[in-house]
Symmetry: D2
């Protein structure tokens, strides 16, 4: 990398890697901050059967919620600074099976009192990609 | 109550402890199945700062979602057997700070195609208890 | 009842009848403000087949949403004054068939930036009452 | 494309105009079925201050819900036939002010037991268009 690569987007991505490292759950889950720009964030999650599964061996719905909520939160934080999750909803469209998962969070509307985001989670396995879950969150600047 | 009265609930609670032990994420999180009856479930979660925190040191919203989704899922499974989470939503009412948390899931309506549940998460610290989050889920029998 | 009984609750109920009369949709729908106290509101809706039905002849989901959103909004307004609906969600548990419907809205948490409410809609027919839908809303003081 | 290829969409749109005319609430609201293809529907709603307003004179949140729920329902019905709304949620992003409103519903996932949709409502005034609300619904084939 040259110094020029670190302007704007690269700086933001690096800044959110540092932020994520301060959250002990994010460290446990191994959230990999792939990309952050203002209002958008991609996180990668690598599947671990030994501590991320539900009873049938799929990725636990709580871990799906975690990575979607975090991607949406980072997308919002990149615009307004620290936020708190106030509302989170998700629809699980297909069993969460994959070697790794990519969560994308996007800010739909950044209001003064509330930010509205949407998120998508795709499972990747071999060469295929599949939409597993969608999410919506409302965040409040702190 | 006669001893016979105690068989049902106790058996159900034991059965869900065994079920929970088959989910690697539940084992990691240490979900303690306190009580299961048909359509109702209480789970206890003990706070661990070293791997359950978000960046400000509160319980991560994803872990809140995990324990609420699991309590609601167990409440539904106790009526109809195996289910899949189809929709999950939650409102975060207060910062999740406490030594331990009790999640309660209840079935509101058990339909043939879908079950509707609601959940509550209370934080316990010293002698006080506080409502932290509410949830709603829709589950589909498999 | 003595005149003293009419302070508070009666005044609030009257005040919200007057407020409801300023909303042209509420007038069209004929929302009857049965009772308002701080953080709680009951509205009655009388079924009209000629302009409230969906294709199968049940109460239209949009009218269900209307009366639930209004009851929740009044419950919140009774605490903090004017609010705007920011999030509304509902689960439809049973076909909405009845001579009249009672919507109840309750404030779960009144925060400084957001109020969280829950609502229930019961259908009444002959002497029976049935839970038709549940709702959750988030409102922002204006 | 042969002429036969063009019958589909036009027939579908006509078919849903006929279906909408059987719902008394849709007739009252004047939902104009602009376009229906498999999994997608656009509805137009013309603002009427005399019976569609909330207390501040904006389009009532219940009417917003009505047109979004209907657009999403038609998008789903165009794939699988009759459905019932099971879950509806919406976020209100901006005050609903406009001469007319366009609701778009899209099917995200058509499963055997449930269909998942998303919707958007845009307000049109003079030459401008503004995103007012987003929605998500879950529908069950009947």
């Amino acid at each position: 990398m040259t110094p020029d690569d670190q302007t704007g987007p690269v700086d933001l991505t690096e800044r959110f890697r540092a932020l994520s490292a301060t959250a002990s759950f994010n460290e446990w889950a191994g959230f990999d901050v792939v990309r952050v720009i203002e209002g958008e964030c991609d996180l990668r999650l690598v599947w671990r059967s030994e501590d991320m599964g539900q009873y049938a061996g799929f990725l636990h719905a709580g871990v799906i919620a975690s990575v979607l909520d975090t991607a949406c939160g980072f997308a919002a934080t990149a615009i307004v600074g620290p936020v708190l999750s106030s509302h989170f909803s998700m629809n699980c469209l297909a069993p969460a099976v994959g070697d790794e998962f990519i969560a994308t969070g996007r800010v739909i509307k950044a209001g003064r009192k509330q930010l509205f985001t949407s998120g998508e989670l795709h499972a990747h396995q071999d060469d295929s990609s599949k939409l597993i879950a969608t999410a919506n969150t409302i965040l409040v600047p702190v």
